[in-house]
Symmetry: none
């Protein structure tokens, strides 16, 4: 869970959590991440913070996001 009293910004904490889940394979390639609303409720942060965290992962190439559909873990390989 994110910790209000850690020095690290909330969105960084959340990004780290999701990044770990992806790297560990708990979020499989091709799989959809929980919605922003779900993440918001799960980690008790605002939607803005969730979106900030997702942007971090997006910039890292860890996820891809589609309007109206959600964020996904992209396939590792190049068979697109």
């Amino acid at each position: 869970m994110v910790d209000l009293w850690r020095a690290e910004p909330l969105h960084e904490q959340l990004a780290a959590i999701l990044r770990t889940q992806i790297d560990k394979g708990e979020l499989q390639p091709g799989q959809r991440l929980p919605s922003e609303l779900a993440l918001q409720q799960t980690y008790d942060v605002s939607r803005g913070t969730v979106r900030h965290a997702l942007k971090v992962l997006r910039d890292e190439g860890k996820i891809v996001t589609y309007l109206g559909r959600g964020s996904f873990v992209p396939p590792k390989n190049q068979d697109l």
Copy 2:
């Protein structure tokens, strides 16, 4: 084809495509447009997006729509 990552909204892109076809005469006055389902499949967007695009053209007077029949390019002249 419509492009998910263009800045222009999908329904605007689709409206522009159909508007061009009308203005070019590829869709003749009096002719029926493809059904919403056909447009949906052709351009790979949701029906809601198709309907949004058609509403744009309807508001422009480019097409008229009848329940159970379809959308049509109205005659240019006033012989209704």
